[in-house]
């Protein structure tokens, strides 16, 4: 009988992860002592923890290494995503503090779950081992299932949680089976080793590898809501509390892509000839289904859900392009997308009032005129999502499409561009409602909810600044990708 050896642990790379985990535990404990109904203090603890984690992650930028028997890697790629997730979660916390109050969710666990979900995300981005990636995915997802249903008094929230859970479990099954096949083919779960056995010449188990990759593709397809595995997304996005929807659209999607890109663009790139065409089709389907379905939506959350599907399609275009350019474009786009989409959901939250969510597009009539700041913010987000220069979303698409063209995918790019055109119609439709019609819901001044206001300011400013000066941010993304390839 062999004794279980405890692996060598270098703690430095783990610090950001540990800080977020510690914060989550701290919030959990603090929750025991706080007696509501005001849980803002928990949000603050979470925010401080996330800021601290970023503060620790940034100085690690120039270091690299692995720890925990090589299953967790300290590389720029992981750090990039760590910071991105902290940003997404931090913004979500800001949104939530006012939101929980108006929706009477008032539940301290909410903050704990957000933070634990973030821990799962960071784990996914840092890990270079399939099993640990899976672990991270489950930590993230289970917290998210609970979050989707946390508005217990709302039927649609319950429904969302159930749907999300059942289909999420499905996806996990596919992923796990894919991992098993990859393990069967290579005898390894560590990504670098799998890459070796996928290298040309040494692939005697090629069929198994390809089959494993196909299953992973399905699993990740579910998680990032790529067509035809997207059908859960609109219902879940609509049913979940809006702050959670923002979290899912930005953070969870980014985390899934973090692992997706690391496995496909990096590890399985020797097999690219086998999976690229499938991904090509997936990208086209996802963009088109997302955009065309969004055209007919009357509920803003469903509209944003379909738009989010479409954006997953654009991201897949970047993955098809592959290589450092495509990967960097995907990373950059994810960061930009986090800003835009969290911002858009923040406006949705700002529009809602107690017992009156105002999610129907008709409720938005005239909002831009009655409330210039909210109108301006939503205009920025909609135009940025539509890809109008000089906003961040345009730069994101520019990098994605350039990468695809550079890799020779002219028609894919043209399809993507035509899809953007379709999307213009429904994004502009929101502006039409806000500015060119009258008679919607009355809205509180955004300043009345300071946290929400702060989140809006941050996302608007970010969307404009990154759009005007994309270079430093893209360089970060590129150097993150470089640390992989």
């Amino acid at each position: 009988m062999t004794s279980l050896a405890f692996p060598d642990v270098s703690w430095i790379p783990l610090l950001p992860l540990l800080v977020v985990t510690g914060t989550a535990v701290l919030v959990l404990i603090a929750d025991l002592f706080s007696e509501g109904p005001d849980y803002d203090a928990l949000g603050w603890i979470g925010l401080i923890g996330l800021v601290l984690a970023v503060g620790i992650a940034v100085p690690l930028w120039n270091q690299s290494g692995t720890t925990m028997a090589g299953v967790l890697a300290l590389d720029r790629y992981g750090l990039f995503f760590t910071v991105l997730f902290c940003l997404g979660s931090g913004l979500t916390l800001l949104l939530s503090m006012n939101y929980l109050e108006t929706t009477d969710i008032r539940c301290g666990d909410y903050y704990t779950l957000i933070l634990f979900s973030t821990v799962g995300m960071i784990l996914m981005a840092m890990s270079v081992d399939l099993i640990v990636i899976f672990l991270g995915l489950e930590v993230m997802s289970i917290a998210a299932y609970a979050l989707a249903g946390i508005w217990r008094t709302q039927v649609r929230s319950n429904e969302a949680a159930l749907k999300y859970f059942v289909l999420g479990a499905f996806a996990s099954g596919f992923l796990l089976l894919g991992i098993a096949l990859l393990f069967g083919a290579s005898g390894e779960t560590l990504l670098p080793r799998i890459a070796e056995s996928a290298a040309p010449g040494s692939a005697d188990q090629r069929m198994l590898l390809v089959a494993g990759a196909a299953l992973l593709l399905v699993g990740f397809g579910f998680k990032v809501a790529a067509a035809p595995f997207h059908s859960w997304a609109p219902d879940v996005y609509e049913g979940a509390p809006t702050a959670v929807t923002a979290f899912m659209a930005a953070g969870i999607k980014a985390a899934a892509f973090a692992a997706f890109v690391r496995i496909f663009v990096d590890t399985l790139s020797p097999l690219a000839a086998d999976w690229r065409d499938a991904l090509w089709v997936l990208a086209v389907l996802t963009m088109s289904v997302g955009n065309f379905s969004a055209l007919v939506q009357r509920n803003i959350k469903r509209l944003l859900a379909y738009s989010s599907i479409a954006h997953a399609g654009y991201l897949l275009v970047g993955m098809v392009a592959g290589g450092e350019g495509g990967g960097a474009a995907v990373l950059f786009y994810l960061a930009v997308y986090t800003l835009m989409t969290v911002g858009a959901f923040a406006v949705v939250i700002a529009l809602g009032r107690r017992g009156q969510p105002n999610e129907d597009l008709d409720d938005w009539a005239g909002v831009g005129l009655r409330n210039p700041f909210l109108g301006f913010a939503m205009t920025v987000f909609m135009l940025s999502l539509a890809g109008v220069p000089p906003l961040a979303g345009f730069m994101g698409k520019f990098y994605l499409f350039s990468a695809a063209l550079d890799a020779g995918y002219v028609w894919l790019t043209v399809i993507a561009v035509l899809n953007s055109l379709v999307s213009v119609y429904y994004y502009v439709g929101v502006l039409v409602k806000m500015y060119m019609t009258e008679g919607g819901a009355e809205v509180e001044a955004p300043m009345a909810r300071p946290y929400l206001f702060a989140a809006l300011l941050a996302t608007v400013a970010g969307t404009i600044v990154v759009g005007l000066f994309p270079t430093p941010w893209f360089e970060l993304a590129r150097r993150s990708m470089e640390s992989l390839v």
């Binding site: 109008v388 000089p390 213009v424 502009v428 502006l431 500015y435 994309p470």
Partner: protein, 513 residues
């Protein structure tokens, strides 16, 4: 001094300043907008004065790295092709700002959007990096969308969305083509570049040129708008508020024709030479079709809108000739159309302001009531007709002269467009202004105020100036036009077409000066 940047960004600065003025302070808002639109006008007068009219290259070049990894620069420059369009823009915007006195609904936002619009248009005219150009190009669309959608007429939403979708459809494909060019530059030279001057040096196979030219041409043809891509224009024009119509007709449409001359033709010379007969044919169809539709238009504003389709057909015909005179005439006509049609929309706007209808049948015999307006409107109308001595004549004459050497039939058919133009405009004028006063409610209309007259006076002064003495303008344009045409010579020759300066002799005309 970075003069071009100053011209481009002063209006934007003004828009920011206006944001901080309380919306109740209408007088302050109006004055501030006027000042911030007059400053770039002053700057561009200086630009014209200092402009070196001997050389064809870019002048006042500014350059700063923006996205260096992809060779994207903040790069501005001006040459004879863009110079007067800049001046046209900065000249018209103060007039539009004065016209905005008539806007009472959400004046502040209106003025802010006007100024943002001006910056975007000026930026697109002087950007010499294709990426930067694209940014400004798309940016133009947003303020116009709001101007139509918020301040427009009955079907404003339909018109606004149509405008956005049509224009975006073209420009997104152009974006793909632009990126493709930068990648080609990377392949051939080893580094990315979006700089116009660099991309001109690329060697592109004819097949590639055809595709890229198509992408560029589509974007520009929609903007022009060329037949059969013109259908967004009557709607946009009809629904837009007066200021929006003036900008749209006078400046925005020129972005399309300018785009052809600046980008589509010189970047893909071989494909351009190949495509020009088709463009000429479409232009002639546009001239006649637009004029015929004008004949039967009951709505004044729609009439002026369709007259743009016809007049822009002339601009495209002159350009498609690819002769010195044709292209110069085309450039000249861009200015003329901007001034004349801007004036027509102002006039229609003034009537609409008084009667809240634009139906020709609602008027008649206005001259007796509004003599000042009548006189001004008459001059504007005649300038649009192309009466010799006024600006419109110079452009049309040069275009027909230039086109004749290349497409005799096209020129002949185009000439009928001139006649048709005279017919529908004169007829319209007659029905509105002369005859007995058929509608009693028109009897009480007041004549133009001093402010309104002040909008027309500078326009009319320019009509005469350009009509009687176009030389300073043509002279400054010529070197840049020559440079553009020189690029085409080898391909024209290969296509068996006479060289452009020989074409002049074929046409039997001397130099225009």
């Amino acid at each position: 001094m970075p003069l071009l940047s100053a011209i481009v960004f002063t209006p934007l600065l003004g828009a920011l300043v206006l944001l901080f003025v309380a919306r109740e302070q209408t007088q302050a808002l109006r004055r501030a907008a006027l000042v911030f639109s007059l400053v770039p006008f002053a700057f561009s007068l200086w630009l014209v004065a200092e402009f070196d009219g001997v050389h064809g290259g870019l002048q006042w070049v500014e350059r700063a790295a923006w996205i260096p990894r992809f060779g994207i620069h903040y790069m501005l420059g001006v040459d004879g092709i863009s110079l007067f369009l800049v001046l046209l823009t900065t000249f018209l915007m103060p007039i539009v700002c004065v016209q905005a006195w008539d806007v009472h609904h959400r004046l502040k936002e209106y003025l802010v959007l006007l100024l943002v619009m001006e910056s975007a248009m000026l930026g697109a005219l002087v950007a010499t990096d294709l990426f930067l150009f694209y940014v400004f190009w798309e940016l133009m669309l947003i303020p116009m969308y709001f101007l139509i959608g918020i301040w427009g007429g009955e079907r404003r939403i339909y018109a606004a969305i149509k405008l956005v979708l049509y224009t975006m459809a073209g420009s997104l494909l152009m974006l793909v083509a632009i990126i493709y060019l930068a990648l080609a530059h990377h392949q051939q030279v080893g580094q990315y570049s979006f700089a116009w001057e660099h991309l001109l040096q690329l060697h592109l196979s004819l097949d590639v040129q055809r595709l890229l030219f198509a992408a560029f041409a589509l974007a520009f043809a929609i903007k022009v708008p060329m037949f059969p891509l013109h259908t967004w224009l009557p709607d946009a024009h009809t629904e837009a508020p007066t200021g929006g119509s003036v900008i749209l007709a006078a400046i925005l449409l020129k972005m399309g024709t300018y785009g052809f001359l600046r980008f589509a033709i010189p970047l893909f010379p071989q494909a351009a030479v190949e495509a020009m007969p088709v463009i000429a044919a479409l232009a002639v169809i546009g001239i006649i079709y637009g004029a015929l539709v004008c004949m039967v238009q009951p709505d004044l504003k729609r009439l002026v809108a369709y007259s743009s389709v016809s007049h822009l057909g002339f601009v495209m015909l002159g350009m498609a000739a690819l002769t010195l005179q044709g292209v110069q005439g085309s450039l000249m006509q861009m200015l003329n159309h901007g001034l004349s049609t801007g004036g027509l929309f102002l006039a229609v706007g003034a009537i609409y302001e008084r009667r809240h209808t634009r139906l020709i049948a609602e008027f008649g015999g206005l001259w007796a009531r509004l003599p000042v307006f009548g006189a001004l409107f008459l001059v504007v109308m005649l300038s649009s007709v192309g009466l010799p001595g006024l600006n419109g004549f110079v452009g049309e004459f040069l275009i027909l002269l230039g086109a004749f050497g290349r497409y005799p039939l096209g020129a002949i058919l185009g000439t009928t467009g001139v006649i048709l133009g005279a017919v529908y405009l004169l007829w319209m004028f007659q029905r509105v202004m002369f005859g007995p006063l058929t509608h009693p409610e028109n009897a009480a209309l007041r004549d133009l105020s001093a402010r309104e007259v002040a909008m027309f006076v500078p326009l009319i002064a320019l009509f005469f100036l350009l009509g009687l003495y176009p030389k300073p303008v043509l002279q400054r344009m010529e070197p840049a036009v020559r440079v553009t045409l020189d690029r085409l010579e080898p391909y024209l020759e290969r296509a068996g077409l006479p060289r452009s300066d020989q074409a002049l002799h074929v046409a039997g005309g001397g130099s225009a000066e």
